[in-house]
């Protein structure tokens, strides 16, 4: 009997702690498949963030480092420069990457350090219980903007991919979504490309993934993916923002 489907070797057997309808599981799988596709076995180190993916080191089946909140690109930089032959990736959420760690991601990108960063944008702080994120949409409700995000009171969402694409450092910046199967297929290609770039020494590669958080959005999983495809994609359009 031939195997037609199996768990990627870069995922452990540990059951994840993610909520029903959360996109993290899908993106974990895509990252694991990409690592396999580029032949990273034996030379890969991942960096987990602070936030819902804080336990990512339990799920990715490779050497892992857990970084302080927002510092994953700096930690990844230290790893990469110490062992340049390793495939090094950082996996970060929106609070981690676009708020407390904005300096680290911008400078890692500007430096063009040859790492891969996967950015989970679900427009909310998940682990801490649904506070406003730097990417929360205007009008979107969160526990720290209970009437909906108001630009005058709470500022505007940050479009990280567009911002990083203005820099000369990155070799590749793309925003994808995992809201449905066709988009998951595109996301898979983008993530694989981001790792292949690193393997080929092309420099800093960045994939932003629009993700659903039904729990903190107070939606059913189906409502949540519709929200990603509708409101969220309008503010955060999908596509390649930079490719060298």
């Amino acid at each position: 009997m031939s195997i037609v489907f199996q768990k990627p070797k870069f995922l452990t057997d540990a059951p994840t702690h993610y909520c029903p309808g959360c996109s993290h599981g899908i993106v974990h799988r895509l990252v694991a498949e990409a690592l396999e596709a580029v032949g990273a076995e034996g030379h890969v180190v991942g960096v987990a963030p602070v936030g819902c993916a804080v336990f990512a080191y339990n799920y990715f089946n490779c050497d892992m480092q857990e970084a302080a909140h927002g510092r994953a690109p700096a930690v990844a930089t230290g790893i990469k420069y110490t062992n340049p032959d390793n495939i090094v990736f950082a996996y970060q959420g929106d609070g981690d990457l676009a708020s407390i760690g904005l300096a680290e991601i911008v400078h890692a990108a500007a430096r063009g350090v040859n790492i891969t960063v996967i950015f989970i944008n679900n427009a909310i702080y998940g682990m801490t219980g649904g506070q406003m994120a730097p990417t929360t949409l205007l009008g979107q409700k969160a526990t720290t903007c209970i009437y909906g995000r108001d630009a005058m009171l709470n500022g505007n969402p940050i479009k990280v991919s567009e911002m990083l694409a203005t820099l000369d450092g990155p070799s590749y910046v793309e925003r994808v979504s995992v809201a449905d199967v066709p988009n998951i297929k595109k996301a898979k290609k983008a993530i694989e490309k981001a790792f292949r770039n690193q393997a080929e020494g092309k420099g800093f590669s960045f994939v932003e993934v629009l993700c659903a958080c039904p729990t903190n959005w107070h939606m059913t999983p189906l409502q949540a993916v519709e929200y990603v495809k509708g409101d969220m994609t309008k503010i955060f359009p999908l596509g390649v923002f930079k490719e060298v």
Binding site: A74, V75, Y81
Partner: protein, 354 residues
């Protein structure tokens, strides 16, 4: 074969770090330690290492975390306000048991303070400046040569105990030029293996995780107990102290770092005046030389102790604690970047003591 050179403290510490195996440096400019990143920026290149001018002190210490976790000999340096910014990272490094070296060329504070020498970061360095129960091995060299000697073996110590070593200097030590003997380059091939490091080969049971998150209270408490055991072992093996003319001393001056050197001259000046003075100088301020200070407290000839420091009174607390308050301890300190002369200390003793 030792090589003799005239070097600034900052440059000498950088060269000694490289000869001791440092191959990764990340730092951010701040006076009075700028010669360290400047020197590293070209010198690391020559030995196949890597220098990064980080976007902040926070990023720098986290790059060191990554490099150390990946098995490298990594270093960062800064001065007081920058070391404050690094505290989060230092706490994580201690929690993840990573060996590295952090240099603090202390300047005066609080706040932006000034750029002149001070010792006002004593509590931060020895009592755990970041969050959580942790300690570091903290050296307080008194000369450029002592900087070199301590720095040269700092990575061996850091790796033995899997914790950061802090070199606690000050603006004076960083800027002063002295003749130093430089030891030969250590061969990285002789460094001990680090089976815990994330060098990329791990998969399945062989994978390594660098982490300081322990969500189960019993696991975290066990981790804390393990760390305390390491600190106890370090205290037993690594405590260093200099004693000078202590045997018959009636007045014991005590100070660390460059002030310890100034005060040594004061001891000689006092002896010339017929006053039996002596010096006790911790070389490690953590672990503190508890036994040596306890002995001083118990010496029948000792009438009074004077703690001399460039702060408003931090080090004196440990002096009192570890002499068990058996002898009166007077305080003489300057701050704001002012530095006392040997004669100032003599005047203080003549006026204020006994």
């Amino acid at each position: 074969m030792a090589e003799k050179k005239l070097m600034k403290g900052n440059e000498a510490i950088a060269e000694a770090a490289i000869r001791g195996g440092c191959r990764f440096y990340a730092g951010y400019p701040i006076t009075p330690q700028n010669e360290i990143p400047e020197y590293m920026s070209w010198r690391l290149n020559e030995v196949g290492g890597h220098f990064v001018q980080a976007e902040s002190e926070i990023a720098a210490i986290n790059m060191v975390y990554g490099s150390a976790g990946a098995g490298g000999r990594a270093m960062t340096s800064s001065s007081s306000p920058g070391i404050s910014l690094k505290q989060e990272g230092i706490s994580y490094i201690c929690g993840a048991e990573l060996p590295c070296v952090i240099v603090n060329m202390v300047r005066s504070g609080p706040g932006l303070g000034g750029i002149q020498p001070a010792q006002c970061d004593y509590f931060q360095a020895v009592k755990g400046g970041g969050h959580g129960d942790y300690r570091m091995l903290v050296y307080a060299p008194n000369s450029v040569q002592e900087c070199v000697n301590l720095m040269y073996d700092a990575y061996d110590k850091a790796e033995k105990y899997r914790l950061p070593v802090m070199m606690l200097g000050d603006g004076m030590l960083g800027q002063i030029m002295e003749a130093v003997e430089l030891p030969p380059m250590k061969d990285p091939k002789t460094f001990p293996k680090k089976p815990w490091a994330t060098t990329g080969e791990g998969i399945g049971k062989t994978r390594r995780i660098i982490n300081s998150l322990y969500i189960v209270p019993d696991e975290l408490e066990a981790m804390n107990k393990k760390l305390q055991k390491v600190y106890d072992e370090m205290a037993a093996n690594e405590t260093m102290v200099e004693e000078y003319k202590l045997d018959d001393a009636e007045i014991v001056l005590t100070a660390y770092g460059t002030v310890g050197r100034i005060v040594k001259s004061s001891v000689d000046l006092l002896r010339e005046k017929g006053i039996k003075a002596g010096l006790i100088r911790p070389i490690t301020v953590y672990p503190f030389p508890k036994d040596a200070f306890k002995r001083v407290g118990e010496m029948p000839c000792v009438k009074e102790i004077v703690a001399v420091e460039l702060s408003t009174g931090q080090y004196i607390e440990d002096v009192k604690l570890y002499t068990e308050c058996r002898k009166p301890v007077k305080f003489y300190g300057r701050s704001g970047g002012n530095v006392m002369s040997p004669e100032d200390v003599v005047d203080f003793v003549l006026k204020e003591v006994k």
